[in-house]
Symmetry: C2
Subunit: 218 residues, 2 copies
């Protein structure tokens, strides 16, 4: 499949590489068409299935698009990608609208709105599915790194798009337990969870962790 990955950071590179290794054609998109990190990534991945371009190139190229940009820059990046290039496509939104500038992280949108909802409102012809934002990139593409099964979440308004994303998480990335939280407003909860995630990351002294939902024994 042809996949667009917007963003050149750790999440974009890790997800992009995993998809290339699975045999997909991946275009990494950045603000500039010749972003040095995207160029280096494509070279590292052998270039045949790993391409680079600007946000619009990558969005146009992908049958499915991953948003791996910084949450605070996502709306601008997606505007540069262009509504026409994202129209009718699934956009897997992995971003968190986090302000890292002070010792206590905070969100630039939360509580009564979320980045997932902002994106869905601005791109009504795109099927936005919020997912993977609660897990470090390493673990996203290799869930068996963890000592036992843990959970990944999906939020979105379109059931068929969520089914496709659930299949991708299961078949491409190896996730065994995927919880559908509901419509795109449930992005609020997974984005706001990031403050707890940050405390847990410090408490366990590792980025390699996740949560598992434990149910009643009865």
């Amino acid at each position: 499949m042809k996949i667009g990955v917007l963003g050149t950071g750790v999440a974009g590179q890790t997800i992009g590489s995993k998809l290339v290794h699975l045999g997909h054609e991946v275009m990494m998109g950045a603000r500039d068409v010749d972003n040095p990190k995207a160029v280096a990534w494509a070279k590292d991945e052998g270039e045949k299935h790993a391409l680079f371009g600007n946000f619009a190139n990558a969005a146009s190229f992908g049958e499915i698009v991953f948003n791996c940009t910084l949450g605070t820059a996502s709306l601008n990046a997606l505007r540069m990608a262009g509504a026409e290039n994202l129209k009718g496509k699934i956009l897997i939104d992995t971003a968190n609208p986090l302000d890292y500038s002070s010792d206590n992280w905070s969100l630039t949108v939360c509580n009564t709105d979320s980045l997932g909802e902002q994106i869905q409102r601005e791109f009504p012809d795109t099927f936005v599915v919020k997912s993977l934002n609660t897990i470090n990139a390493d673990v996203i593409v290799n869930p068996t790194k963890l000592a036992e099964r843990s959970d990944v979440f999906v939020s979105g308004n379109d059931m068929e798009a969520k089914s496709t994303v659930i299949r991708i998480l299961r078949e491409w990335f190896g996730w065994k337990s995927i919880i559908d939280l509901g419509d795109i407003t449930t992005s609020r909860g997974v984005e706001m969870y990031m403050l707890l995630w940050r405390s847990l990351r410090k408490a366990v002294s590792s980025y390699q962790f996740n949560v598992k939902v434990v149910r009643s024994a009865q």
Copy 2:
């Protein structure tokens, strides 16, 4: 031990009853000295170790105090309890500042502040430890109801107070895994987690669940 429980709802009643059954003397506090729910609870519990009074009575009575009031009413309840009656004591804050009025829950304080911090600021001579707000009352007092070990969190500025609360969670309530998240600012994360908790509650169709932190296999 003498324990004050502020609040007459499910959390206060469930925690209060558990403590009475463990042999402690518990006074349930409410706005009015003869709150019908508190009176009925004390009667149900045989009255010998289960007492009732107003917020100030219960705070004065307790060597340790649980805040089990509604989060949106907690600051007012604690003002009625009185700083002098809470001075030098541990206050275990189990409340969430949730507005339930619309279909999507929201918090009345979050992101750059939290109820835990508001309480600590207003009662500087009290050792506020945020805990148990992420778990349904049933599960709080009976963690083995769940299919496997899950995690409970503590947040607070005073290490000794947190150690005491950790001992209480372990020895009285039976929690095996307790994670110290850090100072009272980490209340933000556990309070903001409640929006995800609400989606999970719908997804698992039960109040009886919790999360377990799964670490790296290496």
